[in-house]
């Protein structure tokens, strides 16, 4: 298995509170991605990173921010959680500029906002 770890695996939080999800890799891959999975929508890209301190928005970035201060860590922050952000969040890593090469996904974080 690829060395990619997400933490926490499960979290319940209250509306309006900040939440940070962590993705840690041991593969030294350049690219890291945050996706959310929702019924009927598949996997939608939130943000991605193409290097330390280099990040860009995906298709559903509103309400989320990211940071990458080290190659191995990619953090996703919900500044003020809302019920619409209840979802399963997946981190992915890839070596190449494009995800043409095999991309590895973490096991996911199930976030519930009450």
């Amino acid at each position: 298995d690829a060395g990619i770890t997400q933490s926490p695996r499960h979290k319940v939080t209250e509306t309006g509170t900040p939440v940070t999800l962590r993705c840690h890799q041991t593969e030294n891959h350049r690219y890291m991605y945050w996706y959310r999975q929702d019924p009927g929508h598949g996997l939608r890209l939130i943000h991605y990173s193409y290097g330390v301190k280099d990040t860009d928005k995906g298709e559903v970035s509103d309400g989320y921010s990211v940071s990458r201060s080290k190659t191995e860590d990619f953090l996703l922050t919900l500044e003020s959680a809302t019920s619409s952000q209840t979802s399963v969040y997946f981190c992915a890593i890839s070596q190449g500029r494009r995800l043409n090469t095999e991309a590895f996904f973490g096991q996911g974080t199930r976030l519930t906002v009450v």
């Binding site: 991605y33 598949g42 996997l43 494009r98 995800l99 043409n100 996904f105 996911g108």
Partner: protein, 112 residues
């Protein structure tokens, strides 16, 4: 507006028979397509891919077909096995992009 569409939410097949999962896309800039498989409580895992310069790619029991004129691809699993029961996601990447766009997924159930 979904650029990658999997119009069948679920599919049920008998063990040993063929499973065909379909995917349509709208963006003409997509030139690389992938299928991922996902079991409950696990992350998606890469299954097979195809470049737009090909119309077929085969890997064991899995074959992906690409019809560029119809903007359609399909995944064939022959023979289907109970362990193939999972959610299958179609994904696409554009020639000038570095992001994967996913479909909504199809739940495959293989009955023994």
């Amino acid at each position: 507006d979904q650029q990658v569409k999997q119009n069948s939410p679920s599919l049920s097949v008998q063990e040993g028979r063929i499973s065909i999962l379909n995917c349509d896309y709208t963006n003409s800039m997509f030139d690389y397509f992938l299928w991922y498989k996902k079991y409950p409580a696990e992350g998606p895992t890469f299954l097979i891919s195809i470049s737009s310069i090909k119309d077929k790619n085969e890997d064991g029991r899995f074959t992906v077909f690409l019809n560029k004129s119809a903007k359609h691809l399909s995944l064939h699993i022959v023979p289907s096995q109970p362990g193939d029961s999972a959610v299958y996601f179609c994904a696409a990447s554009a020639v000038n992009g570095n992001k994967l766009v996913f479909g909504a997924g199809t739940i495959l159930r293989v009955k023994s």
